[in-house]
Symmetry: D2
Subunit: 407 residues, 4 copies
């Protein structure tokens, strides 16, 4: 047994298959993949990694299994999945996930290939575990998969608390001990026991508050869009493949961007925090519906059109159209008077938060500071944005420039 | 200048009028008045006092004043009011406030009399401050009164964080530093600066989550109702007056209850945590409207009626009809696109939380464990409760008995 | 099983005999006995109680037992002892322990009588446990008694961390998880495993730093001496016995002091923090050897002599002669190269800390502020203090008056 | 003014010259230089950077200046120096500092060149500050230089608390607020005010406990020695110069080590935490005196000799001879009875800790796990180690293999 000191959960005991997996290269690689990517450009203390998060998820999974009375190989499989659940992450985690997905068809939780080969596969089979079944748990399949990836999974519990600890933003500080103690299985579904509607709500609220303050902070979004754009150029220009890039770590990608002439400008700006500014920041109702459905090629074409119309270099326009907000927590299950209910049916807060998240949605167009006004005007025309209302004026170029970019 | 170490705000510097007020008996008395009263019977670490809270409120007021650029006598007056804002609390704070109010017409923030006499008045006048104007600030009067008692007051900021620290329930952990940094005055109104709708929401959510988990936890409510009932008996039986009782501390009241024969039973039960149980726990829709308006005499009559019908001792029935939930935070003000808006107009969350709070409202009837079933049946009849729906059955005697009473 | 939320250890699970003991009056009484007594007059947030500490000690004992693989009745006995280890405390804990001891011959850990009677005895025997054997563990007897009361006991681990949490003084923040994980039994002795000399030192250092800053802070010592003196007067004046007083809680004692005419002055001063000042503060070498050995009667006589010589009221002089510092931690045991060694043999720090503690020892004479100079002069003469050296002048009346009394 | 959220000090306000310096490339580069280098291989949460530490040091300097009443250009110069004090660090901070020093003659605090050029020089001169004088402060010159680099500097205060926060090891949690509040200048020397001998001791003890547990943990030392050796090979093999390398960040160095054939083995081992083991771990008295004085060339020769004698590859032997422990804190100054004293004269602890640190000193020889026994035998012969005593046997190959390598 190995005991590891963690700044969030204090001592974490690692044993069995998890202890053996810890020393495999795919798990050790997570030491060099940051948890929050460009968020550190807003919250400078947020330099924690997928490695410590994976340890935390393993730890909470272990506690949940012990609380639920699940033992033996079944439990070992979940512990392995918990520790391995993030080995599929590209460098900078979610920041370049889309880029990789478009070329490989794989999101970060699609790890069948990664677990079925090399030292991980060897360790799993030495412990009598089938790599495909572990990969299934990572993808949230089956009853126990809900613990690893689902509405009430331990992944979410760890990252909320850990991100709060490292950013200094207290909103994510949920009562994870209580959440784990109240879990049980009813008819194959993971539910929170009687009396925990509010416990479920607290999880939802934590993410609802962390989202705009941390995960979707506009400066992090700008940097992430620049990183994504740089990475696409890198794949287009060099002979690195998306499948290879997926196994790089943050250092590999950063140095590759620096060394490639076409991307060194983005690399310099990201390294020195000399970021683009918001040329447009438009709320949902100002945006034509079809723009929301646009694929990467269309977006690329629009960026070129805007650049042309604004008479700036093609690299100087980044268009950022986020997905519409989802809210998995709304379908988390709670026992109410002995019946399993979805939180969304039970809680008056769920719809309110859903509405709030739609309100917070913004389309962004980013450009170098001295070109952002020009690019903004061009973007409004080219994208057909309808920016008459008060909020829209608010987010036109120049207005937000006086706000504190750090917070 | 005196520096005091606080477990929440670390070092607190006290100077000027506040340093002089610190040593007056009414302020020192707060060392013996617990902040959360019977909540410690649910959360055993919650033994913090009104004294440390008052220091915390003074500290946050001082920081807010410095951030707002308010100086001189004006600022001294606010600092004095912040330190003194709770000297009007009865023993066990809010727990017996109603009892005192019915007899004196004074809530805890009605401190004109207390500040206009004795050493406090002396200190205030030595520092050139008018006691009545300080009392006005405590009551939330005037522009600066909003800082001491209002939707965005520093009282709330301190107690949420402090109660979270001492109960161990993380929900109250707001970002008080940020709240204070974002305050400003616009046309005489205290508002949060541009970009802080969510900061305001976080304050609202913190209280919305702390309320049922901590402040309105049913065990705390049961104990509080028993304490209130005991105190009423004490005032009816002995020659202690409500005006005197208001100046006692927790020890005085507890020992008085122990020594008075009529109340020693309540005192023993409270001391030994041998509390009544819920005989009825009824949601809003099960309760006849006129019961919500009932005054203390009517309640007393109903308690006697129920006891009679159940054939138990009069002391064995406690009826607890809470006020309908208020939500002052909904009228806190935020700058949005340069205009002052009430949070309630701006945030989709406000109405949802208001609805949630109504949902959480419960009427309680409490009785000794072995009589609670009988008392429950009688109470349903006598009060005309309509308990057919699922939730109502849920809270009938015996059902909740298996739930963990501590959490 | 009951789960209790604690501000230090988060969730504490209580089951078996401990859950049954929790509801007994002697354990519930600890809710009203403060952990640090008069220390709250220095650190206002330090209002935690023996009850929450007892829960913490139970929790750490439970973890240690599980780590050591001890189960069954043996373990239940230790858990009972951990929860009960402080039921023998008088009100204000150590503050009046001496007063009670002189009259009853019992220190707080002498609990055989208390456990052998009433509901505690009943619960213990219902769970098949012998009260005397549990009392033996509380007194540190036998192999497992070392866990409850010894150099490496869980009592110390809890109070250091808890007192740090509540005072805000970080020095007590030891790594209690690590300490517990490294415990084992070697030849019937509780030792720290190989590689933990420094872990043992950290425990020693934590107490060495907490001692003068918190536990022996001069303001706490003054208040404690006044409380002790008041309690002696109370026992001499009223018909309360020491055996009764031992079972009071803080409120009982405080109100008794207030109501007794002879002691109401002390009660007022303690309540309003209107404390005596140091008339003399003398280091070890200035004090005649025989004064260190003086019993209570001699001390009382000297107080009267000083009062006479200074021409002040007898109540106005309090003489405080602390015991010479002990350092149990120096005999804690650590495995070094496979051999059990006492920390004192192994660590170069032990002697240094012992010397530092001797250096910090001070005899105090306290008196009302306006009489302290006169009393100081008289005390130097009457006690035969030799106050020529620099440190001695340093602590004569008036010199320390400019220092911050709070910290 | 910019406000930055920090996980240790909460909100940090940056203004004046510091706000302008924040955006310069040499300061932003610190985002990619880890604070503790290879310590993260022992404590996985310790991924904090020199950037956040520099902000923390700036923040504490600002508070100290305000406490000391120092304003104007003098204060701006100190604030600039505080923010810039680490720009001279090589990648992985202290880990490769020696390598750079041997080739450039510059330690990390020799920043005259770095400040006198480019955007930093420009910002400083725009704010009327002389880069050489700022560099002087970084090097600890002059009265105010003591605040930036000295026995009581704010650098130490920040790193102890920050390293404790991120490793999870509580020993570094000093009371930095108190330290800063007690600083003053007496005759041009920075001292702690009267009554703070123990405050000074707490700083010393914190470092004394963090040293072996964190900074000098044997796994961190092994990894650091491997990194150092790899970096030397890199400089010897490629055309990168030490002056260039000094300006790289962690990613640059890590990727350079990976891409260079001669060093890719070390890079792989460091990335995958497949580290060498201790072949020898010898205490001070077992080591011939002249070995302590050996320069890098001699060490290199000895490594080759041992490799030859053990018949292993030259890369497979790493000899690690640490400097003898220093203890700057022993000369920190405290006011005692109105006189300035060095802590070493005043505190009985200083010599004890000095002795403890000598006791903890170890010479290490590291080698791949399967060759470590052979290398150990050879090293003992070649280095003339005298390993008869108990401690020495203790640390011979195989013995420590059963200890937990993480803690």
């Amino acid at each position: 047994m190995t005991t590891i000191k963690d700044s969030v959960h204090d001592h974490i005991e690692v044993q069995g298959v998890a202890a053996a997996l810890l020393d495999t290269p795919p798990v050790q690689r997570l030491r060099h993949v940051s948890q929050l990517g460009t968020v550190t450009l807003v919250y400078p203390s947020a330099n924690h990694t997928r490695f410590e998060h994976s340890l935390g998820v393993y730890h909470l999974a272990d506690r949940a299994l012990s609380h639920l009375g699940i033992e033996g190989q079944q439990a070992e499989r979940v512990r392995a999945a918990a520790l391995l659940h993030d080995v599929g992450h590209s460098p900078y985690s979610h920041n370049v996930e889309e880029v990789v997905y478009r070329r490989t068809g794989k999101y970060h939780d699609d790890v069948e290939g990664l677990l079925g080969e090399g030292p991980v596969a060897r360790v799993l089979s030495e412990h009598g575990l089938n790599p495909d079944r572990v990969a299934g748990l990572v993808a949230g399949e089956g009853e126990l998969g809900q613990l690893v990836s689902g509405e009430l999974d331990v992944d979410r519990m760890d990252y909320l608390v850990r991100d709060a600890h490292h950013t200094g933003v207290p909103y994510g500080t949920i009562d994870h001990e209580r959440l784990i103690r109240e879990l049980s299985f009813v008819d194959g579904e993971l539910v929170l026991d009687e009396g925990n509607v509010q416990t479920a709500e607290s999880l939802l609220l934590a993410r609802a508050l962390m989202n705009p303050t941390v995960y979707q902070h506009h400066v992090a979004r700008i940097a992430k869009s620049m990183l994504r754009r740089g990475t696409e150029r890198l794949l287009a220009t060099t002979d690195a493949t998306a499948e290879e890039l997926r196994r790089w770590d943050d250092s590999d990608l950063l140095v590759a961007l620096r060394r490639c002439e076409e991307t060194s400008g983005y690399a310099r700006r990201l390294t020195q925090r000399d970021l683009y500014k918001r040329a447009v920041w438009a709320e949902r109702r100002a945006v034509p519906d079809d723009l929301l459905e646009a694929d990467r090629e269309t977006i690329g074409g629009l960026e070129r059109d805007i650049a042309g119309a604004a008479n700036v270099d093609g690299d100087a326009v980044v268009l950022d159209v986020p997905d519409e907000p989802s809210m998995t927590e709304s379908s988390s299950r709670v026992l109410v008077n002995g019946e399993v209910r979805r939180l969304g049916e039970q809680s008056t807060l769920v719809n309110a938060i859903r509405a709030a998240q739609r309100d917070q949605w913004r389309l962004g167009v980013y450009a170098p500071a001295d070109e952002s006004e020009r690019v903004g005007e061009a973007a409004i025309r080219e994208l057909g944005l309808d920016l008459d209302g008060a909020r829209v004026r608010d987010v036109r170029p120049g207005i937000h420039a006086t706000l504190d970019e750090f917070n």
